[in-house]
Symmetry: C2
Subunit: 223 residues, 2 copies
DNA sequence: ACCTGAACACCGTTCAAGT
DNA sequence: ACCTGAACACCGTTCAAGT
C-alpha cells in the first residue's frame, strides 16, 4: 500500500500526540481508513504499539484529533471576505476541499458530532448569518441547514472515494454508475434515469456550491 | 424497538437472506452497530457463522441489505400528497423517522452511496421536483441539495444516538452539551454560545423540517 | 445444495517489565 | 515518566468436513 521506506534520522525523538496524529494523517491519506492500525502506526513511528496509548486514549480519540487537525488547518486558510454570502461560500468550500484532499475526514465528521471540528465549522458558518440579516428566531434553522448540507456532501464524497477504483478516472467511474442507473425500471425510477444523463458531466465542486447558493437563497427569503 | 423475546419454534426453518437480514436488524436495533457480529447473528439463528456466508457475501452486503430494507419500508409507508411540497416533506420525514427509530441506518446511508436505499430516496424526492416547476437545468442541483441535507441530518442523528447515554433523557443530554459549549472562549465562539441557548429546547424533527422548508424556499426562487 | 464449527489472520487494547 | 512488545479477547472470513 504505502512505501515502506523507514524514516531516516530522528527516531530518537520523543513521542508526542502531535507526532502521532501527524503520522496517522499520513497513513490515512495514503492508505485510507483501513490502513490505520496501531501496529502500522507504531511501525511508522518506530515504537511499540502500547507506547501510543500513553499519549492517546484510544482509536476514536486519535481519529477525532486527526479530523480536528485537518479542519482547523482548512478553516485557517479561508480568506476573509467582505460580503457575508461570499464568506459563507468560502468557508463551505474550504471544508469541501479539505475533504476532497482527505476523504476519510468526510466519514469522520458525521461520526463524532458536537466536537471541535464541528464547532469550528459551526462558528465559521454561523458567525456570518447575523451579517446576512437573518432574524434571531431563524438563526438556528439556517445554521443547521447549512451545516447539515455540508456534512451530507462530506459523507457522500468520502463514500465515493472509497468506492471508486483507484485506477479509474472520475468520468469513467461516473459513466459506469450512470449505466447501472439506466438498467433500473424506467417506470419506477424515471427521475433517476434523468439524473443518469447529467451524472457523468457534472462537477462535484460546482454542484456543492450550487447547493450552498440554493440554501442561501432560501435564507434570503426569511430575512 | 423490538421485543427481545426469542423466536419460539421453527428454528429448523431453512436459512434465507431474508431471515438473516431480519435477525440482523433486530440485533442492530437492540444493541447498535457494535452488537452485530457474525457470531451473534449465528447464535440468534441457531446456526454456524459460516452458514451465513452461503446467503450473504460479507458484512458490507449484510449492512446494505438491512439498510435497504428499512428505507424501502419507510418509503412505502409515505402517503402520497397532492401538493409537491407536501409530498417532498412527507418523504423527507419518512426517512427522518426511520432513522430516528433505527439510528444505525443513518451511519450506513452515508457509507454506501448510489445504492438501492439512496436510489429510492432520490426517486422519491426528485420525482416531485418537476411538479414544483423546477426548470430542467436546475433539477440536478435541487435534488442534490435536498438529498445531501437529508443524509447530513441522518448521519448526525446516528452519531448523536451513539453518543447520548442510554439512561439520560434528551433534554438533560442537550443541556450537558450546551454547558460544554458555554465553556468555550466567547470571543472565538460567539455564535456557538448563541446556539447553546437554543439547543436544549429544540425539537429535532421540527428543525429537520425547517431545513427542508428553507431549501424548498430556495428552490422556489429558481423556478 | 446447504450447513457446521474449528482455524486463520488480524485487530484494539492491556499490562508486566524495562529504562 | 515513558516505552516495549508479548498476551488477551474478539473479530471477519475461509474451508474441510459433514448432511
Amino acid at each position: 500500500m504505502t512505501t515502506k521506506i523507514q524514516r531516516t534520522g530522528r527516531r530518537a525523538d520523543t513521542l508526542s500526540k502531535e507526532r502521532i496524529v501527524e503520522a496517522a494523517i499520513e497513513i490515512l491519506d495514503s492508505g485510507g481508513q483501513g490502513a490505520l492500525t496501531f501496529r502500522a502506526l507504531a511501525a511508522r513511528l518506530a515504537t511499540g504499539s502500547g507506547a501510543i496509548y500513553w499519549h492517546v486514549a484510544d482509536k476514536d480519540e486519535l481519529l477525532a484529533a486527526a479530523t480536528n487537525d485537518i479542519i482547523a488547518r482548512a478553516m485557517t486558510e479561508v480568506v476573509d471576505r467582505d460580503r457575508p454570502q461570499q464568506a459563507i461560500r468560502a468557508m463551505a468550500l474550504g471544508v469541501f476541499d479539505a475533504i476532497d484532499a482527505h476523504p476519510w475526514v468526510g466519514a469522520q465528521l458525521s461520526r463524532e458530532p458536537l466536537q471541535a471540528a464541528m464547532l469550528q465549522i459551526s462558528e465559521g458558518i454561523g458567525s456570518h448569518l447575523q451579517a446576512l440579516g437573518v432574524p434571531e428566531r431563524a438563526e438556528f434553522d439556517c445554521w443547521s441547514a447549512l451545516v447539515n448540507y455540508i456534512l451530507g456532501v462530506a459523507g457522500q464524497n468520502a463514500a465515493n472515494a472509497r468506492l471508486a477504483p483507484r485506477e479509474m478516472d472520475r468520468t469513467t467511474f461516473l459513466t459506469t454508475v450512470a449505466a447501472r442507473w439506466r438498467q433500473l425500471d424506467p417506470a419506477k425510477y424515471a427521475f433517476v434515469h434523468r439524473l443518469a444523463t447529467r451524472l457523468p458531466g457534472h462537477d462535484d465542486r460546482e454542484q456543492f456550491l450550487a447547493g450552498i447558493d440554493l440554501i442561501l437563497a432560501g435564507i434570503a427569503t426569511v430575512r
